[in-house]
């Protein structure tokens, strides 16, 4: 007993001491506290497909060109670029006086080494194919890089502008530096601390090439998995920005006078994917019936944070989007009729696989099940974890129906490439497939748009998916913080213009 009491006193004393340290306030300029809902697996921009990595890397690295806030590609590390008449030779003129965080000046050799690293098999980059089209890279002088492509490839500039086009320093590439845990780039912030699963500290790069930017000295990305903790942190001022607020938490934040809620359309394509090789879905009538049976707006409003309904496989805000929503409006009667014609009833058991780590998709899946049962279909739900989803459902096509959101891409080729030749929906359409390939080799918005219109038309009619829509994203930001941007189509955080009022 005595031992316990003694230990108890010691403990209380320790806590009191700790509390005392806590009371001392800091006077230096305030860091920006940002909530990140997960820990990035790696910070090597070439080593992953994970969005979290690119969201953090956006502040650490630069690309030659980048999308501005309207999604238009503008100069970044390259001041300008020219394309040869045959669209095969791309020349980039680098900005002068740019320095890496380790002090190395940026030269054309760094650019060459960067792209040679990503196409090297040993790097094992999931984005290698975006650069396989490069035949050679030449560096006529320190500030000029010339890419020669094997064939005309319209998405090239988009690939260069995406997160995986980040420029790394040659000197560290040569020594086999561990970019996964110690990123070194030219970006507006240097990574100064990373406590895995706890926080990532970014400190201002005073030599940043954009004069006068960034504004804030330090950004602390607090890794907080629990959304209610993020919300409470924002309300109490311990956090400045929560970039994704779930629908349930919106009313709570609306009541606070200290918080601004912003609502943006994401570039996500929310779908219910249909396995077109499996009966009864090999019959286009059944797939059409599914599209008639779903009240898309209701799903967007209930499961996702609202959004815009789409009628084909392209995000609503995309320059290549075309409206096909009138093709299959919500019409359960029509759905029943089509199912009757196809002879599909309650005795056909349909299995819907839901990724359990994405609660909105699970919620949407439950709504689809309900709506489909109203037109007389028998849908069974099977929950799977993400690894199983990606291996069995996506790669293995072992599903009847599944629910997912496809992330936006800077170039429509990124969204459409591979469709018509199977993909996970097992949809085969030679015309669509060859048009998609043709569009990738065609230059100029107008010419490409004409081809993509046809592709999207075929996909809208043949419905390998139930296209649902592009959802909204609500961000919660403290009133004294301005200028927080999200990069369009890439969904990365851009803190360069962020400041405290």
């Amino acid at each position: 007993m005595k031992i316990f009491m003694k230990a108890g006193f010691i403990l209380l004393f320790l806590l009191a001491a700790a509390g005392g340290i806590f009371a001392s306030g800091k006077t230096e300029s305030k860091p920006l506290n940002f909530a990140l809902s997960g820990n990035p697996d790696t910070l090597d921009p070439q080593g992953t497909s994970g969005t979290l990595t690119f969201q953090v890397d956006k502040s650490i690295y630069d690309t030659l060109t980048e999308p501005n806030e309207k999604g238009v590609i503008v100069p970044a590390l390259a001041e300008s670029w020219d394309v040869s008449k045959n669209s095969l030779v791309w020349t980039f003129h680098l900005r002068k006086g740019v320095k890496f965080h380790n002090g190395d000046p940026l030269t054309s050799a760094d650019v060459k080494a960067t792209f040679e690293r990503i196409v090297d098999k040993k790097t094992g980059s999931p984005n290698k194919k975006a650069f396989d089209v490069i035949k050679s890279i030449e560096t006529p002088d320190d500030l000029t890089v010339v890419f020669t492509l094997g064939k005309p490839y319209a998405p090239f500039l988009a690939s260069i502008s995406s997160g995986w086009g980040a420029i790394l320093p040659k000197s560290l590439i040569d020594t086999g530096h561990d970019f996964a845990s110690e990123p070194v780039g030219t970006g507006p912030y240097k990574m100064t601390e990373w406590v895995r699963d706890s926080k990532i500290v970014l400190t201002k790069n005073n030599d940043y090439w954009m004069k006068g930017y960034p504004k804030i000295n330090q950004i602390i990305m607090n890794i907080i998995p629990e959304s209610s903790v993020q919300i409470q942190g924002l309300l109490s001022g311990q956090l400045d920005i929560v970039y994704m607020v779930s629908k349930d938490n919106v009313p709570l934040l609306q009541k606070s006078p200290d918080i601004t809620l912003t609502k943006n359309l994401t570039s996500l394509i929310m779908v219910m994917a249909i396995n077109c090789s499996r009966p009864p879905f090999n019959n286009v009538k059944v797939r059409q019936a599914l599209n008639y049976a779903i009240d898309k707006q209701k799903v967007l409003d209930t499961a996702y944070s609202g959004g815009k309904v789409i009628g084909t496989f392209m995000d609503y805000g995309n320059a290549y989007y075309k409206d096909f929503t009138s093709l299959y409006p919500y019409n359960p009667e029509k759905a029943k009729q089509l199912l009757k014609e196809a002879g599909v009833g309650k005795d056909t058991v349909i299995k819907m696989y839901l990724p359990q780590n994405y609660p909105p998709h699970v919620k949407a899946g439950e709504m689809y099940q309900d709506m489909l049962s109203k037109v007389g279909l028998n849908v069974k739900i099977q929950m799977v974890d993400w690894s199983t989803w990606i291996s069995d459902v996506y790669r293995g096509s072992k599903f009847d129906l599944t629910v997912i959101g496809h992330t936006g891409k800077l170039d429509p080729n990124g969204t459409l490439s591979g469709y018509g030749k199977g993909k996970y929906v097992q949809w085969y359409n030679d015309e669509a497939a060859s048009l998609i390939e043709k569009a990738a080799e065609t230059m100029g918005y107008k010419k490409r748009k004409a081809i993509y219109d046809k592709v999207l038309g075929i996909m809208a009619e043949q419905v390998p998916f139930v296209y649902v829509g592009s959802s909204y994203r609500t961000s919660g930001i403290r009133k004294n913080v301005t200028g927080f941007r999200m990069t369009p189509n890439l969904d990365t955080f851009d803190f360069r213009w962020t400041e405290f009022k």
């Binding site: 806590f22 098999k121 094992g124 706890s198 990606i390």
Partner: protein, 308 residues
């Protein structure tokens, strides 16, 4: 000499246990669906890219070869490298272990601090106010889920009365609330057991003898009965400590703590084979070691229990 033999025996048992469970876990995680290369690759990668990733991760070779490679490393106490973060598994565990260990220790300590005194009081003063309080507490403790208690504690002591930080790690202040959330339920179990065991001891004949000898009630309760009553309590507390390392997963999630629980949870989600294997082996060692300590503690409580 006997102690030495005992430790040696225990050590061999531990090696055997690890060999068996590591083999089981090795094959189990490869039988269940999910491929780490696909987790890295994401949904846009081509087959060639996936194959290159498999080569890089070393998952392209047959499972038997992977098993031999892993065993070769394991005997040299090398757990290999995480497939996802590319860090040595041992480094990752070393980074995370102090936090989870302190959390479990503080949790069990707070649990004991509540449970044993309350359990003894309940047993000594049966059907008193103490006893009723103990009963209500243990009912609540077992019924309340720890993550819910965690969130309530956060709302109360980090939001309403901001005494403790809402998130972050690195100081003991970050551990206090999660330790309460963890210890609360554990205390309920220990409390019930302490009470039952104490009541049982107090009805034994040697207590009557002690009373007949004229010993004070205090002497009887604490010197004689408690010491004997604690033996089953120690066993259960030892096991509870092991469970706490597991229970920490949810609590670490709620309190944004970078501990072992989250490390292993994500390792499973992402099919990070070497990290899962290393984690299981590590937890097994901790469990065996705790059991060993519990056994040692018995002989301290009651010298009659010989090490054999």
């Amino acid at each position: 000499m006997k102690l030495f033999l005992f430790i040696l025996k225990r050590f061999f048992r531990l090696v055997l246990t690890i060999l068996i469970i590591s083999t089981i876990i090795f094959f189990v995680i490869r039988v269940i669906p999910g491929d780490p290369a696909l987790v890295v690759a994401g949904i846009d990668a081509s087959n060639a890219e996936i194959q290159a990733i498999r080569v890089k991760l070393g998952t392209d070779v047959p499972v038997a070869v992977q098993y031999v490679r892993w065993m070769k490393k394991l005997v040299r106490f090398d757990f290999g490298t995480s497939l996802i973060s590319n860090q040595p598994v041992m480094t990752l565990i070393k980074q995370r272990f102090p936090l989870t260990f302190s959390l479990a220790l503080l949790g069990i300590f707070l649990g004991i601090l509540i449970a044993i005194p309350l359990g003894v009081l309940s047993a000594v003063h049966r059907w008193s106010l103490w006893d009723y309080f103990g009963m209500v507490y243990s009912q609540l403790g077992m019924a309340i889920p720890s993550f819910w208690l965690g969130i309530i504690l956060l709302l109360l002591f980090s939001v309403k009365f901001p005494i403790f930080p809402l998130f972050g790690s690195g100081s003991i202040k970050n551990l206090f609330l999660p330790a309460i959330a963890l210890g609360f339920a554990r205390a309920a179990v220990i409390l019930r057991l302490t009470r039952a065991s104490m009541v049982d001891e107090l009805s034994k004949e040697y207590i009557i003898t002690a009373r007949a000898k004229g010993l004070t009630e205090k002497m009887i309760h604490y010197k004689h009965a408690l010491k004997n009553a604690l033996i089953p309590v120690v066993t259960v507390t030892g096991i509870q400590f092991g469970y706490m390392l597991g229970g920490a997963i949810i609590i670490e999630q709620v309190f944004s703590l970078p501990g072992l629980g989250r490390l292993f949870l994500f390792a499973i989600y992402q099919r990070d084979f070497p990290l899962i294997q290393g984690g299981v082996v590590f937890i097994a060692v901790i469990f065996s070691f705790t059991n060993f300590l519990v056994d040692m503690f018995y002989s301290f409580l009651n010298p009659k229990i010989r090490i054999s």
